[in-house]
């Protein structure tokens, strides 16, 4: 189904639910809202990088442990 048709169907259903503008957003300029979300995406990117670093460190630690285990196994 085409996106525009699907969107219309959803919007029709949403209108039935009594749509009104959220007063919280009325005073906020749409451009500054967009900028806020762009900054949000940057923050998310930083978070992801931190997680990837943690994952890499734990993987390295696990690999080192495996090497130590293997070495001790061969010695015995």
């Amino acid at each position: 189904m085409e996106i525009s048709i699907l969107e219309k169907m959803i919007e029709n259903e949403l209108e039935k639910l009594g749509r009104i503008e959220d007063e919280k957003f009325i005073k906020i300029d749409k451009k500054s809202l967009l900028n806020h979300f762009l900054e949000f995406e940057e923050r998310l990117d930083e978070e992801y990088q931190k997680i990837e670093e943690i994952k890499l460190k734990s993987l390295q630690a696990a690999m080192n442990e495996e090497i130590i285990y293997k070495n001790s196994f061969y010695k015995t």
């Binding site: 996106i3 699907l6 259903e13 749509r19 009104i20 967009l34 998310l44 978070e47 992801y48």
Partner: protein
């Protein structure tokens, strides 16, 4: 279209949920509660088919919207509740992410964001601005409390053993 494999792992999904919940526009600031400390969240991975079926059973006014929103095969869901409502197995909102998205998709992986009186969605490949625009509205007749997702796996009933007869070929 969407991939059928899961690319967004649990760590990244969890961090995305937390960042959304912390955000001053997208987050818990949309929930008016006396005690914000009592917020309970539950994160899980499920198939969109199971998710939609669960919401079909629990929602009265907005189940059609959930049904109309195209979703990938797998979704990450973060259900938001309060301590009191959690005990009654009820939720007040939720965030749904595309589990088949790549981490570089950033916020494009949001499919649905729902809080009391609020619902914003994003259809696949739509510009994210449409989602922001939808987020600036609220709805008076939307359910503010509904049943949480349950029974990801149905229990085996007496005498109702798997026969494989109804499997799709």
């Amino acid at each position: 279209m969407w991939d059928r494999r899961i690319f967004l792992d649990a760590c990244l999904a969890e961090s995305t949920f937390y960042e959304i919940l912390k955000d001053k526009f997208l987050g818990l600031s949309n929930i008016y509660l006396v005690k914000k400390k009592n917020i309970v969240i539950r994160i899980f991975l499920t198939t969109s088919k199971n998710y939609k079926y669960s919401r079909f059973k629990s929602l009265e006014n907005s189940y059609k919207i959930i049904d109309f929103i195209p979703m990938p095969k797998f979704v990450w869901v973060c259900e938001i509740s309060t301590l009191e409502l959690y005990k009654q197995r009820k939720i007040i909102g939720e965030i749904v992410l595309d589990a088949t998205a790549f981490k570089d998709d950033k916020l494009d992986k949001i499919i649905l964001l729902r809080y009391p009186n609020k619902l914003a969605y994003r259809i696949f490949n739509e510009p994210i601005e449409k989602f922001w625009n939808r987020f600036t509205y609220k709805y008076n007749k939307i359910e503010n409390e509904y049943d949480m997702f349950s029974k990801n796996l149905e229990e085996v009933q007496d005498g109702n053993f798997y026969s494989g007869k109804n499997d799709r070929k």
